[in-house]
């Protein structure tokens, strides 16, 4: 073991870590995809005040928002195999990636459902009345009128959550997933230069977050281009 801290090593580690960026992004995208659908399923009973289902959804959301994601990760990792055994499915030897995506889907669903609920509630009531007046059915009014407007309102919150979840994916290594952090751990075992690896990881995460932020700002502007500017008219 040479010097205690060698800045040159950071640059040597960067490409090795970057090779695993796709795994991190894959976890993020897969979790967001499932999370969004699940979020809609959770938000709908609460919006339409379906008895029992809406209370269950509220408890689910409160539980996920009330527990650390690291605990959720362990709960899914140990709990899901036990649960699926009831249906005679053996997943105890499944890829840990599967558990990570399951956890982040379940977790992001709770946060997104709250965002969706708030956004839908903030759409002007007159819009849905106008839709009914024009002869749209309840379903058409929701999908064609309310959802697009709610989506635009929810977008900034959604973007913040995505960035939060990107950072949370760094916990996946704790159940043995080979993402950037996991690759970092193997580099540390091989070279015993932990600090350089972690600094390299911090640089990569920071750059990815900056790129995402810039992208979201542009997307937001594009989404809101139909908004009429009363003040500047």
């Amino acid at each position: 073991m040479g010097k205690a801290f060698d800045p040159a090593l950071i640059f040597e580690f960067l490409p090795k870590l970057l090779a695993y960026l796709p795994v991190t992004l894959f976890i993020l995208v897969a979790a967001l995809f499932f999370g969004l659908w699940l979020a809609l399923l959770i938000a709908l009973p609460r919006l339409y005040k379906v008895p029992v289902l809406s209370q269950l959804a509220a408890i689910y959301v409160s539980f996920i928002r009330g527990t650390p994601v690291l605990i959720q990760l362990f709960l899914v990792f140990y709990g899901l195999p036990a649960f699926l055994q009831l249906f005679h499915l053996d997943v105890s030897r499944a890829n840990p990636l599967f558990f990570v995506i399951a956890t982040y889907s379940l977790s992001s669903a709770a946060f997104f459902s709250e965002t969706i609920r708030a956004a839908v509630n903030s759409v002007d009531r007159g819009q849905i009345e106008a839709a009914y007046a024009a002869g749209l059915t309840g379903r058409q009014a929701f999908v064609r009128i309310v959802l697009p407007q709610a989506g635009m309102i929810a977008f900034p919150n959604f973007a913040n959550s995505v960035i939060g979840f990107l950072k949370d994916t760094s916990l996946a290594f704790s159940i043995g997933v080979m993402d950037m952090m996991g690759r970092g751990q193997t580099l540390i075992s091989a070279t015993a230069h932990a600090l350089e690896v972690y600094i390299g990881l911090a640089i990569i995460y920071y750059l990815v977050v900056i790129v995402l932020e810039k992208g979201f700002v542009r997307a937001e502007r594009r989404l809101q281009r139909h908004e009429r500017k009363w003040a500047s008219a």
Partner: protein, 236 residues
């Protein structure tokens, strides 16, 4: 599925003994972070020459990287730094004798400072400019106007955000487990490994965090009503 429900209760009482450490890891960084947050927020608002760029980078970098990395980087970097300084100036500090908790608290304080800075900045900016002008008009100095007029109103406005940050840090404190601190998650892990009942132990830990979160939410709702009492709209 075999869940040993009585064992969850046993776990609960065993794990809950680690609650004080979790609260220490949550609250102390928030207090130190509040100080850092006020200073950096003021630097950024008043655009203090050169310093505001550092403050901007500090906030953006710490908010843009995972907290677990902050803990690990400080855990490895701070002992090296202290050892080097100690050699240079002959302080004779043995870094191995510094408890790991100090590194954990340092890391979380820096993180809390970055998040606090954004919250406090938004709070200060949301105070009506007329309030500051009125303070100047009655002869207060900038310092007096800040302490007596702006900050109290700003804190009232950002109370919900501060509560969310508390809950966030309650959950973030689990990362102390990665450097082998015996907080709630660390304790849960020990209880789980000793009894080989992982699911039960983590369910018990989850229940403790959930309960704490609900209590924190209730307290904020109450405080919010009190703090903004002067400013309530509507009738009665």
């Amino acid at each position: 599925m075999t869940i040993d429900i009585p064992f969850i209760i046993t776990c609960f009482f065993e794990i809950v003994t680690a609650l004080p450490l979790t609260l220490v890891i949550t609250v102390i960084p928030l207090i130190i972070g509040f100080g850092i947050g006020v200073v950096t927020a003021l630097m950024r608002i008043y655009k203090v020459r050169f310093l505001h760029r550092i403050a901007d980078f500090y906030v953006s970098f710490l908010r843009g990287t995972p907290v677990v990395l902050h803990v690990l980087i400080i855990y490895f970097a701070l002992p090296l730094l202290i050892a080097k300084l100690s050699d240079q100036f002959g302080w004779g500090i043995d870094t191995a004798s510094i408890p790991i908790l100090v590194f954990v608290l340092t890391a979380f304080s820096l993180t809390a400072g970055a998040y606090m800075s954004e919250i406090i900045r938004s709070g200060i900016l949301s105070v009506n400019q007329g309030q500051v002008e009125a303070a100047y008009a009655v002869g207060m100095s900038t310092r007096q106007a800040l302490w007596r007029i702006v900050l109290p109103q700003a804190i009232g406005g950002i109370l919900p955000n501060l509560c969310n940050l508390f809950i966030g840090f309650l959950h973030t404190s689990t990362f102390a487990f990665t450097v082998s601190q015996m907080e709630l998650l660390g304790k849960a892990n020990v209880v789980a490994s000793v009894n080989l009942k992982f699911l039960e132990a983590f369910i018990a830990a989850a229940l403790i965090y959930w309960g704490m979160t609900i209590i924190a939410e209730r307290i904020t709702a109450f405080l919010e009503k009190r703090v903004t009492a002067y400013n309530r709209g509507g009738i009665a």
